[in-house]
Symmetry: C2
DNA sequence: TTGTTATTGAAAATCATTTTCATTAATATT
DNA sequence: AATATTAATGAAAATGATTTTCAATAACAA
């Protein structure tokens, strides 16, 4: 690959230092896992991945770091209704934010990100948000849109 | 009031019997609480309310009954991200279903139901669902739309 | 190199929810 | 109405994700 990645260890380090936090080995390891692995990882998933290379990083630290990363808006936490939170990086390697919503399979738990149709949704959301803000004097900061159903595989299995 | 209520003990009893379930005192008490109290109650909330009149109904039974009611589609379970599930009756006293979405205050936890803009949303959702179903061969059964932010009160307090 | 203090890991605590299991009670049957 | 059947119940224990506690460690400024 040519060129260098705009994100990665040194960028993260700067971000941490800038916020007054220390850039520690466990924190880097956790960010690495999130960066390399695609998908929606649970704290346990992340812990197990980190554990391969850094067996002395504890689960507690994973939770604490994730909390910090969410607060720093480097990571997004989602809840798909299976009793455990899921985490994913908020930004791609170039820093672009992939605003997306989720399709969640209620049978196998698979989560599909989709960015299609987002445009229409955004438009509706903006209208709705404007209307709701006015009517209820409610300041909207964020929203959740999720679809639940059966994924291709589980449909075929006739669940 | 004139006329009689289309919903209530005897109707519920019929529904239960029809499904092959017994209509017990705890189940009636729990439905009563859900019927009388408006809003989004946690299992604990319901337990405490039931407990006033029926001190020997246990929390376990509340959980079990709620699970049953959700499965019977008499009750809707929601998750507002505070670590406990919330429950509300799916139908008003006349049997009408109030399809609504939620505004959740991230400061005080207040939840506002809204039915405005639902028409637009439904339309968009149908389009989106159709598109997503086709593209990902995903059979969509349900969706969640929730807005998070600050309610009027909390805004004034300058949170 | 050293001091300061944020960060860490292990173990214990928390908290909502679920499971277990012996007892009770709703309903069908007599 | 009395009895039998078995679904439903309640108390206590178990579960499982997440949080807290606290003494030890390590990042980084001086």
């Amino acid at each position: 690959m040519h060129g260098r990645c705009q994100r990665g260890p040194s960028w993260w380090q700067g971000k941490f230092r800038g916020c007054g936090y220390r850039f520690t080995v466990p924190r880097m390891a956790i960010l690495d896992v999130l960066n390399i692995t695609s998908g929606h990882l649970s704290a346990e998933d992340i812990y197990m991945n980190v554990h391969k290379d850094y067996p002395n990083v504890g689960l507690t630290t994973v939770y604490r770091t994730l909390e910090l990363l969410v607060q720093m808006e480097l990571v997004v936490r989602s809840d798909f209704g299976d009793g455990r939170a899921r985490y994913e990086l908020n930004q791609g390697p170039k820093g672009e934010r992939h605003h997306h919503h989720h399709l969640v399979c209620t049978n196998c738990g698979r989560v599909i990100d989709y960015t299609d149709f987002i445009k229409d949704e955004i438009e509706l959301l903006q209208r709705t948000e404007k209307g709701l803000s006015k009517k209820y004097n409610f300041k909207i900061d964020s929203h959740i849109i999720q679809f639940y159903g059966l994924c291709e595989k589980c449909r075929r299995k006739g669940k």
